[in-house]
């Protein structure tokens, strides 16, 4: 009875000793949001190209919940062997640590290592078609002339869109009231019908309404103009560099992953980001490709963002 078991054990030990080339089995890519959302769609396209680069299937797994907290925690608890990667984003790594640190069950700076930045999306500043202002400057003038009158919507407290509005408030002195919604939709309907005055939303979401003529774009919260709306003035150009805000994403691994594996992933991801399909996806999504930012710069960036959100934090609570 014991002999076959012993033999089995020996074989397994031998197999373990034999040096395996990373990766030698499928990699799990955790998306802390549900299927069909923007991060999910991007992840699937990225994973597809990454699969080609690594030679092993990269399987996208959705672990939604608590604005990204559940999936991020899951990734943190995974073995740091390079077979679990996380699609990190500004919510769980920037906004929540800045505004609700008591909710954190992980350390965004210590528990993970940045492999490569992926994308950054500025928000578009939109209003309904018959609003009495058409540029950022006019908006600020109107807001100052009518303090406390304007409303802006967002898909929820603590989202990048919400923060964009608060940062704008702080930078321009506009005194706009935040109205949270559950997800993009009803917010857009209310904005188009005039119930809301403004929103800071991503371009794919506002596009149908702008094309239909129900909404107009005042500007964008990015540092540079984006390809899909080249006429949209940036907040920097309008004179408010402190209102710059972007939602950002990166690929990360749990801390303690060996250096060779991280280097392999980094090379692979650089190739992925250079791929034309990904470049197209990012451009049409109204986003920009993040330059090859790795661990040190990535961490510095995240830290700076957390500080920035904290500074805007005072104005957040209703």
């Amino acid at each position: 009875m014991k002999a076959p078991l012993l033999a089995l054990g020996l074989v397994m030990a031998a197999a373990g000793l034999a040096k395996a080339e990373y990766p030698d089995r499928p990699v799990t890519w955790i998306v802390p949001f549900s299927a069909g959302g923007v991060t999910d769609i991007s992840s699937r396209k990225l994973a597809e190209v990454l699969t080609e680069q690594l030679g092993q299937p990269v399987i996208v797994t959705n672990k939604p919940g608590a604005g990204g907290l559940v999936g991020t925690k899951e990734a943190q608890g995974a073995a740091p062997d390079g077979y679990t990667v996380l699609y990190g984003s500004s919510g769980p790594f920037g906004i929540i640590p800045a505004l609700s640190p008591e909710k954190l069950t992980y350390d965004p700076l210590k528990d993970f290592e940045v492999i490569r930045g992926v994308s950054a999306s500025p928000q578009m500043i939109v209003t309904h078609a018959d609003a009495p202002f058409s540029t950022i400057a006019e908006l600020v003038d109107y807001a100052k002339a009518n303090p406390g009158k304007l409303n802006f919507g967002s898909p929820g407290i603590g989202t990048a869109q919400h923060l964009a509005g608060e940062l704008f408030n702080k930078a321009t002195g506009a005194d706009m009231t935040h109205v949270p919604y559950k997800a993009g939709t009803s917010q857009m309907v209310d904005l188009a019908s005039g119930v809301l005055d403004l929103s800071f939303e991503y371009s794919p979401i506002v596009k149908p309404y702008v094309e239909e003529g129900k909404m107009k774009i005042l500007g964008t919260t990015g540092r540079e103009r984006i390809a899909t709306y080249p006429d949209a003035q940036t907040v920097v150009e309008a004179g408010y560099p402190d209102a710059v805000n972007m939602g950002w994403t990166f690929l990360g691994v749990p801390a303690g992953t060996p250096a060779e594996i991280r280097a392999r992933l980094e090379t692979a991801m650089n190739a992925v980001m250079a791929d034309q399909r990904i470049a197209d996806m990012i451009r049409t999504g109204g986003q920009i490709v993040v330059p090859a930012v790795g661990e040190t710069e990535g961490k510095a960036f995240i830290q700076a963002e957390i500080a920035k959100f904290k500074a805007a934090g005072g104005a957040v609570s209703n």
Partner: protein, 499 residues
């Protein structure tokens, strides 16, 4: 005529061999998962969405639509056979459908559901082709004040759902509303009743609640009784409806279709409201309202038609404006974007084959489902003849798998066990569960919209009655209240007269 051109374009696109296969596969997959007790269309589509990523856009959407309807049919099937609604709009079907099954009329109930859904699907498709644009614009007249008024009516109707004492129905609605507050508060960002548990931040899941109360608790109760009382379904009468019964279905189905077609267009919660507004309506116009809750066919025909019509018209804002009216449509947008199609008004002109093909495919999907499901009725009914001691572990397993698949997490499964205690108490005390579930679904929308109106108006309550639509709903609520109270008064007077 332009309409005819569109119809022809649609049919030629949808009827290609390839697209027919995709529609069929979608319907089949959707039905299979919809049958998983507790999993409804939204959960099903989230799970199966990745399967469509490698297809072309038209094929992907056709398959997704097929999955959507299939899941709805499947969800109604489990609601009738094992009293497990897969989503909020199936709760109403379970009310009378399951009772019909217990009386040996499972076949009739299933057939009623399938046929009413098909009637609704046909009318709704024509509706969409004729009135897509004006219907879509309806959505823009609904702001937070209008939604609040609509929810008030909805909650009132929720108390009508059961035959229990009014005091208890209202109390159960309140329990549902209270349970719905668990989680992160939308308007303020505060955590309510979560006690620091991260996985509770998003609140309790409707499906977990439904499974605990309708599924697991029911199992425990059945286990406590004799074999005979449980499988009262043993005496099965004919499977297919008679001509007379078909005639009886027609009126409720038509009324349900009307209700569903209009309510489905409204973003957020239109479908659930449609199915039980239909139930309330049928109960009101019926000649024997006391039969409702005990297995009245109209209680299945109306709501089933309503929720199918709503499911179809919910595509309208998506196709005409690029605007999703519920979670499923949001997923559809995701599917379109993966195929590099940005949904919006331009899609109708830039890719008419996609839009009209999809619309035509909806009707074809309905046809496929009726053809699929009617013969399956015999299979399901035979399933009921399986001895309960073999059946209930299977139901348990299916529910657990379903619960896990909601978020790929065991937490939801564990919650089921916890909620089971409460669910069993409800079953044991013979309290009405349906009002609680309705309160759970409508409560958040009521609160969210009320607070939003007040936030925007800076505390001015007059904003609630600002538009004709909201005033209309309040009047409806008042009328509903009166008609509920009057019969009670009349009965009391009769008793007094007799003295």
């Amino acid at each position: 005529m332009e309409l005819l051109d569109h119809a022809i374009l649609g049919l030629t696109t949808a009827l290609t061999f390839q697209n027919l296969i995709y529609a069929f596969v979608g319907c089949l997959l959707g039905t299979l998962i919809g049958i998983l007790p507790g999993l409804g269309p939204l959960a099903t589509i989230s799970m199966l969405l990745p399967l469509t990523y490698s297809l072309g856009p038209t094929a992907a959407l056709i398959m997704l639509a097929g999955i959507y309807y299939g899941a709805q049919y499947g969800g109604s099937t489990t609601a009738i056979i094992v009293n497990l609604p897969g989503e909020s709009s199936a709760v109403v079907t379970a009310l009378d459908g399951y009772q019909m099954a217990r009386q040996g009329k499972a076949g009739l109930a299933l057939a009623t559901a399938a046929i009413s859904s098909f009637i609704a699907g046909t009318f709704a498709t024509v509706f969409i082709m004729l009135a897509a644009r004006p219907l879509a614009n309806l959505a823009f007249s609904f702001g937070p004040a209008e939604y609040f008024a609509m929810m008030v009516v909805g909650l009132l109707l929720a108390t009508v759902l059961s035959n229990a004492r009014l005091l208890e129905s209202v109390a159960m609605v309140l329990v549902g509303v209270l349970l719905s507050t668990v989680g992160t508060d939308l308007t303020s960002g505060d955590e309510r009743f979560t006690f620091g548990i991260t996985k509770l931040f998003d609140g309790l899941d409707f499906i977990v609640l439904a499974m605990a109360v309708f599924g697991f608790a029911e199992i425990v109760r059945n286990l406590g009784e004799d074999e005979d009382t449980v499988t009262g379904t043993a005496k099965i009468t004919r499977l297919m409806p008679t001509r007379a019964e078909l005639k009886q279905m027609l009126a409720p189905a038509t009324r349900g279709t009307m209700l569903g077609s209009i309510l489905g267009v409204l973003p957020g919660g239109g479908a659930a409201l449609a199915s039980f507004a239909s139930y309330a309506l049928e109960k009101r116009v019926s000649r024997n309202p006391e039969q409702f809750g005990k297995g009245h066919m109209a209680g299945v025909a109306g709501p089933e038609a309503a929720n199918n019509a709503a499911a179809q018209t919910s595509f309208i804002p998506l196709l005409t404006l690029g605007m999703p009216s519920n979670g499923v449509m949001a997923l559809m947008i995701g599917a379109m974007m993966i195929h590099d199609i940005t949904p919006g008004p331009r899609v109708m002109t830039s890719d008419p084959a996609l839009v009209w093909g999809l619309i035509a495919s909806m009707w074809i999907g309905n046809l496929i489902l009726v053809v699929l499901n009617l013969p399956l009725v015999g299979l399901w009914v035979r399933l009921l003849a399986v001895p309960y001691r073999l059946l209930y572990p299977a139901i348990m397993l299916l529910c657990c798998i379903g619960a896990y698949s909601l978020k790929n997490d065991s937490f939801e499964v564990m919650l089921c066990a916890v909620m089971l205690l409460g669910g069993y108490a409800i079953v044991l005390l013979r309290l009405p569960p349906a009002p609680m579930l309705m309160g759970f679904v409508l409560g958040p929308m009521l609160e969210e919209n009320l607070r939003r109106v007040l936030l925007i108006s800076r505390g001015d309550f007059a904003a609630l009655v600002g538009s004709p639509i909201s005033i209309g709903f309040y009047l409806l609520a008042a009328v509903a209240l009166l008609t509920m109270a009057l019969p009670n008064l009349r009965r009391k007077r009769e008793v007094l007269d007799e003295d």
